[in-house]
């Protein structure tokens, strides 16, 4: 969709930019047309995924030799003659850049963004190396109260990209403009520090900032973006499947950004952008048996011997792993008659069963029931979110929910505890359990309003949401666990021609196809493919290790788990893995190797195959 503010641009127009004939489509702006023709009109406040505001004035172009207009907000029209590179326009651009330079702390050599800064590039492009106007800046203390995002407003040019990102992309509205005139500044909520604010630390503003006003201390001074290699891979921290652009330099990860052409418009969350980088624990590279370093062969021998001699094996694998690895795990451990547990498998299996049943019963294509793209959320008239825990478990989806609620969509939230989307919800309903099942009692709660729903049932709520308006989308959070609720919601969606976005606790939705069991209560060996051995994966692994007499652990980092393990075999870290992961929409997404593995292990899969072979 074009962002031209003038509505009547003609279809298929031809215009001339600096003497070059350029074709533009209906409603395209001059800037969009120029970009497609590889003509570089200078910009600072413009950003592809954001609305255009014409604030920075860099893209002023001369139209038909008679007036100056901002290319980012003016529709291309047939026969327009545009000049970009005139002396007069560059004089104005240079003077404005001089003003900006003299009004803030733009001493590039002390700035983290030096070399990657769009403002600095613009200074260079304009040939500006000094300023003739009085130098004076307010000397604002940087705000380092957020662990992952530092805000240095002395380097802020008030382009408003961060404000628009926080509003239009993240839907959170944490960042705003405050004051006016020269005092204009970015204000966090009601002027609190970033650390105390409603900020969700997604870092989208950092990615959007053209200068060094917003940066992450995790990436600061690790190297210039332009000297980095970039690998695009898929995040496996939840089932959304965001595309990560991972920047590396000399075998080290410098930063992670969201791929702006990816499914989430360049958005990431705190987990994908920062927490993957923030793991400061020691990397495990050597196999160990009983605390002593051994060769890999010895470790595998010991592991297989222990497995073979066990009176019962409980095996666990993190669902952060690629589908191929999980399959190899399943096959290898089957050779030792192990019971398998993979987080999220239960919900995913249940969901797939429910969908198959519905397919047969109601004659619907399950694919039609599932939301295709996160953008569909914004197009819904009503969004019903069961379990607002998605704010923590699937933060990027939460952004789309907020965006929708900030727009025309009516948001109904249902939660048994704290409603984390209450600020955005039109109707916030507290249920005794979010997964309350449908009862036969259908009360006419609509007249009683949402208060009457406090003790209502799922059906009541759905009833209300459907009455509110036409197209509805149901979002099921990870806390929805029972079959009945799932049947009800999917069934309602099927019969009302609506869609469901199901966000289970699992990351890799392929776990639905990996056979799992209930773990044995008296197994004496635990086999733990803990993968990133973080958070819930780590907690569950430790629990299982403690229950067993002997624990065999695949780990990437030294942790409480490796301390109690009998056999430790290094595993690949997230950026070393290869394979595919299935996202919540059922799509296969590629996991690419970002850096070569540190240790001896080149492939988790091969190692599991070795183990399987030994058993055979």
């Amino acid at each position: 969709m074009s962002k031209a503010t003038q509505s009547e641009a003609e279809t298929g127009v031809t215009l001339e930019i600096d003497g070059q004939e350029v074709q533009a489509r209906d409603g395209q702006t001059i800037l969009e047309a120029a970009k497609e023709a590889d003509i570089d009109i200078p910009t600072l406040c413009e950003h592809a995924n954001l609305s255009n505001v014409g604030a920075c004035r860099m893209c002023l172009v001369e139209v038909d030799g008679e007036r100056n207009e901002t290319a980012c907000t003016t529709a291309a029209q047939d026969g327009m003659e545009i000049s970009v590179e005139t002396d007069e326009l560059w004089t104005h651009r240079r003077t404005m850049l001089e003003m900006m330079f003299a009004d803030q702390n733009h001493y590039c050599m002390y700035c983290e963004m030096e070399g990657d800064c769009e403002l600095e590039d613009m200074f260079n492009r304009a040939g500006l190396d000094s300023s003739r106007v009085p130098l004076e800046y307010p000397d604002i203390e940087p705000d380092a109260s957020n662990e992952y995002i530092t805000m240095d407003l002395d380097r802020c040019i008030s382009c408003g990209r961060c404000v628009r990102t926080c509003d239009e992309i993240v839907g959170n509205g944490t960042l705003n403009f405050g004051n006016r005139g020269r005092e204009t500044t970015i204000v966090v909520d009601d002027d609190v520090s970033l650390g105390e604010s409603s900020c969700v630390s997604c870092g989208s503003c950092v990615q959007a900032c053209p200068t060094g006003a917003l940066y992450s201390p995790l990436s600061a001074y690790k190297g210039r973006e332009r000297n980095c290699e970039v690998e695009t891979t898929t995040c496996s921290e939840c089932s959304v499947g965001c595309e990560l652009d991972v920047y590396t330099n000399s075998g080290r990860i410098v930063k992670i950004e969201g791929n702006e052409d990816g499914p989430a418009d360049g958005q990431l969350c705190e987990m994908g952008r920062f927490e993957l980088l923030a793991d400061g624990r020691e990397r495990l590279v050597e196999p160990q048996v009983d605390g002593e370093t051994v060769s890999l062969e010895d470790a595998i021998d010991r592991a297989s011997a222990t497995l073979a001699g066990a009176n019962g094996v409980n095996a666990f694998a993190s669902d952060r792993l690629p589908t191929e690895t999980l399959e190899a795990f399943s096959e290898a451990l089957a050779a030792y008659d192990a019971s398998l547990e993979i987080p999220g498998a239960e919900r995913a299996t249940l969901e797939s069963e429910v969908l198959s049943a519905l397919e047969a019963e109601l004659d619907v294509e399950t694919a039609d029931l599932l939301v295709d793209s996160l953008h569909d959320l914004e197009d819904s008239d009503t969004l019903v979110v069961y379990d607002t825990g998605i704010v923590e478990s699937h933060p990027v989806v939460a952004s789309y929910v907020r965006r929708a609620a900030n727009g025309e969509t009516t948001l109904v939230t249902i939660d048994d505890g704290e409603d984390r989307l209450e600020r955005f919800a039109d109707h916030s309903i507290e249920l005794a359990a979010p997964a309350a099942t449908v009862t036969e009692q259908v009360t006419d709660v609509f007249e009683g309003g949402t208060e009457a729903l406090a003790d209502g049932t799922v059906e009541d709520i759905v009833d209300v949401s459907l009455q509110l308006s036409g197209d509805a989308t149901f979002v099921l959070g990870p806390a929805v666990e029972d079959a009945e609720t799932m049947v009800d919601i999917f069934g309602l969606a099927a019969t009302s021609d609506n869609e469901v976005l199901s966000l289970g606790p699992g990351r890799n939705s392929a776990v639905a196809n990996v056979p799992t069991d209930d773990l044995e209560t008296d197994a004496d060996v635990a086999y733990l493919l803990a993968a990133d051995d973080r958070d819930d994966d780590l907690d569950r692994s430790i629990e299982l290790a403690r229950e067993a007499d002997t624990a065999i652990v695949h780990a990437t980092r030294a942790s409480a788990l490796t301390e109690i393990a009998d056999v430790v075999i290094p595993a690949l870290d997230w950026f070393e893995r290869e394979g595919t992961i299935v996202d919540a929409d059922g799509e296969d997404r590629a996991i690419e190797r970002v850096l070569d593995p540190r240790g001896e292990i080149d492939s988790d899969r091969e190692l599991l195959a070795d183990l399987q072979e030994v058993a055979a």
Binding site: T5, Q6, S7, V53, G54, A55, C56, R57, L60, N68, E69, T70, T73, T74, A75, T91, H92, T95, M96, M99, M100, A102, D103, R132, V133, P134, E136, I157, S158, G160, F177, N179, R180, G181, R182, E183, T184
Partner: protein, 629 residues
């Protein structure tokens, strides 16, 4: 022998009431008119029910309640120079500079006995006292059309408004005219926007009319932000029903059923008056559904602004009404296409709207007899500065600058005219050579100024033009919304340069810098505020460049207004750059190396280092070096 007033006839008075009208305009308020009002209430209250009032001009005693003697607050009467003003109707007496102490006298003599108190009357050039406004040049030279009712009728009475022909135009429009005829009439009259831009109002209405939309808006722009301008406030305070009538007509012509007046919250009286008037108009059936049985619906509400200058800009104004920050956005789309809540929106200045009922009642030809060909009608001006009769005046367009100044009583005292700043902070300075220029929308634009809302500051020869530019720029940089860099930063940088010039710290090259910054700000800013912000600087540079040079090179303020002195550096030396030949002799003799400069270029002395020994003065072959005092 005191002039004895005649009993008013029925024709003179609306309802037989005696009215004491105390001006509560900004000017009069600042000289204590609110206290005068309270004093009148007290005095009249003292009469309350205790005795009948003997009026020498009446036929016997009349109960004061029957007469309805009641002090009334009014909007600005215009003649601010001599405030507080008290007008007593229907006798048509204007008292000037009324103090609290005069109130008892006025009640005793004028109200009770029909005597005029000469000392309180305007004193004309001959020394004669004039009690009637017809005999006061400030009023007699004006042509009060838009302001016709202000200070005369009770702004809180629909009935009084109707006696002046109020709501007749609306009735005509709604029952006899098509929208096309209405905007056609306004187009024929050549009515141009009084808020500053001068865009033809009829065309604006036509564009909005042509938009196909189920919902449209009209907005009355009363976000009067220029320092010293208060014509819109005066209209809303003094004749709110006229504004309502103009709005209903605009709504009908454009196809809008909803109107909003955007009013500064700092105008509490105006807010009260318009709110009261809207209530009364609803009551009387002039607003709401099926107005006067014509089937036309129109709702009208008040939106209070927080007093930001930039909110007078149409896109910022609408953003403010929508609850957003008062920040402009680029056009197109124009408000007529997509304005408030993305609906076609017509925004007219209050004064423009006030002219509309007159045009409908009297016809386009009647309107065009006033003013000039390209700018028909009258314009209100808020004249301030060094004139002897400053205040608010309404005069036909096309009078020369000199004529306008004459209406305002000419330059005060025995000083000489130097310049006027017209159009507020967005306007420009005009010099002596422009005195014979007719003042119209177009003539002003030709000389780099603009009519703006009609602010006019007259300056005599003791005014420093650099300081004038600094004053206006200080205002605009403070009022910049901060969205675009040229306005947000550029105006501030210009201000800093002007400040150092008026402080005597100006540097060679500052004039070029001001011009470069000014041109970029004018050419690159997003909205009208920024685009016009450099005007005061650029126009004073054009007409009074020598004053800038005197400040920078001679450390001298020709008008003597700026306190240029050595300040902390008194006793040190400075080099007049235009006299310096760059011979380096001073550099050679300076014992502390305070003097810098390449051969052939103007040198300069660092006052921080200079010890004031004076050896350079001796060495200089061109007498370019002087002591800072």
């Amino acid at each position: 022998m005191a002039e004895v007033l005649q009993r008013p006839t029925e024709v003179d008075t609306v309802d037989g009431q005696i009215r004491i009208v105390i001006c509560q305009g900004t000017g009069c308020m600042s000289s204590g008119s609110d206290e005068v009002y309270e004093a009148f209430r007290e005095q009249i209250g003292a009469l309350d029910g205790t005795e009948n009032v003997a009026l020498s001009w009446s036929e016997g005693d009349i109960d004061h309640e029957e007469l309805g003697i009641e002090p009334k607050k009014s909007g600005c009467h215009g003649f601010c120079e001599l405030g507080p003003l008290v007008r007593i109707d229907p006798m048509n007496v204007l008292y000037t500079q009324v103090g609290v102490d005069d109130v008892e006298d006025i009640v005793e003599k004028t109200i009770r006995n029909g005597e005029v108190i000469e000392e309180l009357c305007f004193e004309d050039e001959t020394g004669a006292r004039q009690s009637r406004t017809d005999n006061i040049p400030f009023y007699s030279e004006q042509k009060r059309l838009a302001l016709g009712n202000c200070g005369r009728i009770d702004p809180e009475s629909v009935e009084e408004y109707k006696t002046t022909g109020g709501y007749e135009a609306m009735q005509t429009v709604l029952s006899e005219m098509d929208p096309e005829d209405v905007y056609g009439e306004v187009q024929d009259a050549g009515l141009r926007g009084r808020g500053g831009g001068g865009f033809p109002a009829g065309n604006k209405w036509m564009f909005a009319h042509q938009e196909d939309a189920s919902e449209k808006y009209v907005i009355a722009n009363c976000d009067e932000g220029d320092p010293g301008a208060f014509m819109d406030r005066c209209l809303v305070e003094g004749d709110p029903h006229r504004v309502i009538e103009g709005m209903v007509i605009a709504g009908y012509a454009t196809g809008a059923n909803e109107g909003i007046i955007y009013l500064r919250a700092e105008y509490p009286l105006a807010v009260d008056r318009i709110q009261q008037a809207i209530e009364d108009a609803y009551e009387a059936g002039y607003l709401g559904t099926n107005i006067m049985g014509t089937g036309f619906d129109f709702d009208f509400e008040v939106e209070k602004g927080a007093g930001a200058f930039v909110c007078g800009e149409e896109t910022a104004l609408m953003s403010s009404i929508e609850g957003g920050a008062g920040r402009p956005s680029p056009r197109p789309p124009y408000p007529a296409q997509s304005g408030l809540e993305d609906k076609p929106t017509t925004i007219n200045n209050v004064e423009t709207l006030a002219n509309v009922p007159l045009i409908i009642n009297n016809g386009a030809e009647w309107f065009k007899q006033y003013g000039s060909e390209d700018s028909p009608g009258t314009k209100t001006f808020a004249v301030s500065g060094d004139c002897s009769a400053t205040g608010l005046m309404e005069i036909p367009m096309g009078l020369t600058l000199q004529e306008i100044i004459d209406v305002a009583g000419g330059i005060e005292g025995d000083k000489e005219f130097k310049a006027v700043q017209i159009g507020g902070p967005s306007g420009g300075c005009l010099a002596e050579k422009h005195l014979d220029m007719p003042v119209t929308f177009d003539s002003l634009q030709e000389v780099g100024a603009m009519l703006g809302s009609g602010g006019l500051v007259v300056m005599d020869d003791e005014t420093c033009m650099v300081d004038v530019a600094r004053f206006f720029l200080d205002f605009t940089q403070d009022e910049s919304c901060g969205k675009c860099p040229p306005c947000r930063i550029g105006t501030h940088k210009m201000l800093r340069i002007l400040e150092r010039i008026t402080d005597g710290e100006g540097e060679p090259g500052d004039i070029d810098r001001l011009e470069e910054l000014g041109e970029t700000i004018a050419e690159s800013s997003l909205c009208g505020l920024g685009q016009t912000a450099p005007n005061p600087v650029l126009s004073t540079l054009e007409h009074f460049r020598d004053e800038y040079e005197a400040h920078i090179y001679d450390d001298e303020c020709p008008a003597g207004e700026c306190e240029i002195g050595g300040g902390d550096h008194a006793g040190t030396y400075k080099i007049a750059a235009q006299d310096c030949v760059g011979c380096q002799q001073c550099v050679d003799v300076c014992p502390v190396d305070a003097i810098a400069g390449d051969p052939g270029e103007a040198h300069s002395i660092d006052p921080e280092t200079c010890i004031g020994c004076g050896q350079c003065v001796e060495a200089c072959p061109t007498d370019a070096i002087d002591m800072r005092t």
